[in-house]
């Protein structure tokens, strides 16, 4: 599984959305991506990529696109 596939899987598993709408997703932009959903998403990232995110970074993941940038700080390239 590529990093992009893992990344998309985290979103589809957490929010139950299809891949074609993922690039439009933003924190609080859909009911599922609230504070609880945000924590669930982060746990999913950590399990899929075997990383531990800093809280400051967790709070910066405000959109699907921004999340790619944040994970890049942990050496994970998503393209």
């Amino acid at each position: 599984m590529t990093n992009l596939e893992k990344y998309n899987k985290a979103f589809t598993m957490t929010f139950g959305k299809k891949e074609d709408v993922l690039p439009t997703l933003k924190y609080r932009g859909i009911p599922e991506w609230d504070s609880v959903g945000h924590m669930d998403l982060v746990v999913c990232f950590e399990e899929l990529f075997d990383i531990m995110l800093e809280t400051t970074d967790i709070l910066e993941i405000t959109s699907y696109e921004k999340g790619k940038e944040i994970l890049g700080r942990y050496g994970i390239t998503i393209s």
Binding site: S35, V36, G37, H38, M39, V43, E46, T55, I58, L59
Partner: protein, 232 residues
């Protein structure tokens, strides 16, 4: 140290005391019988120890309503100080050993949201040792002539359980919290489990039972409570 325990259920044969953790707002309950105690959801080890010493109580049993860190962040402290037995279901025993399932890994983020996004409160991830006694679906035991029943109630987490004391008091953990819907989206949470297993069990509770939730004040189980939590 200012103790924040309150006696909330004076009774001829036992007392129930509650300690609210300032940081997480979780409730710890101590059931006092003669000079012995059961601790439910040990949220603050040092404060619980101070209370036990003040009341000259010997704790013998610790119970958890589920594996989330805010309900057991004082667990290992108390296990080191006292000869106590931790009784939980198998899933809860697994969950307390895992920093992701027990939520301590993500607790700073949780507290940030809970505090209305004003500051990051440091919270160190931790795990606990496995339970001393485990069970699958339910566990009944006597404690100095008190009757206790623990029932596995998955949904909020896979290790969630509810505890009934003498058919009079019901410790509901993160179920039946006033003005709070049941959260089933966190790690190991499962809405189907809640609907198929736990919800029917809660629907069967007798009207008039005293409910002691994991957060917030105790209350009497009533038709209004059933309606609020869609238990019909």
């Amino acid at each position: 140290m200012e103790l924040q325990f309150h006696k909330i259920a004076p009774n001829k044969t036992y007392n129930i005391h509650v300690l609210v953790d300032e940081l997480t707002s979780s409730n710890c309950y101590i059931i006092e019988k003669d000079n012995y105690a059961i601790i439910i959801d040990p949220n603050n080890g040092p404060k619980i120890k101070s209370f036990l010493e003040l009341k000259n109580l010997t704790p013998e049993v610790i119970l958890l309503t589920h594996e989330h860190c805010d309900h057991m962040q004082g667990l290992e402290y108390l296990r080191e100080v006292y000869d106590v037995k931790l009784i939980t279901n198998i899933e809860c025993s697994y969950g307390i050993q895992n920093t992701r399932q027990n939520m301590s890994r993500i607790m700073e983020t949780y507290l940030y949201f809970k505090n209305k996004q004003e500051k990051i409160t440091p919270y160190k991830p931790f795990s606990c040792k496995e339970s001393d006694i485990t069970f699958k679906d339910s566990f009944d035991f006597e404690f100095h002539n008190l009757s206790l029943k623990i029932v596995s109630c998955p949904g909020h987490t896979s290790g969630s359980e509810c505890i009934t004391l003498n058919n009079e008091a019901f410790f509901s953990g993160d179920y039946l919290i006033k003005d709070e819907p049941v959260i089933t989206r966190l790690p190991s949470g499962n809405l189907n489990d809640y609907n198929l297993k736990t919800k029917p069990y809660l629907k069967g509770l007798p009207i008039g039972l005293k409910i002691y939730p994991g957060h917030g004040c105790s209350f009497i189980f009533s038709k209004e409570v059933m309606e609020e939590h869609e238990l019909y």
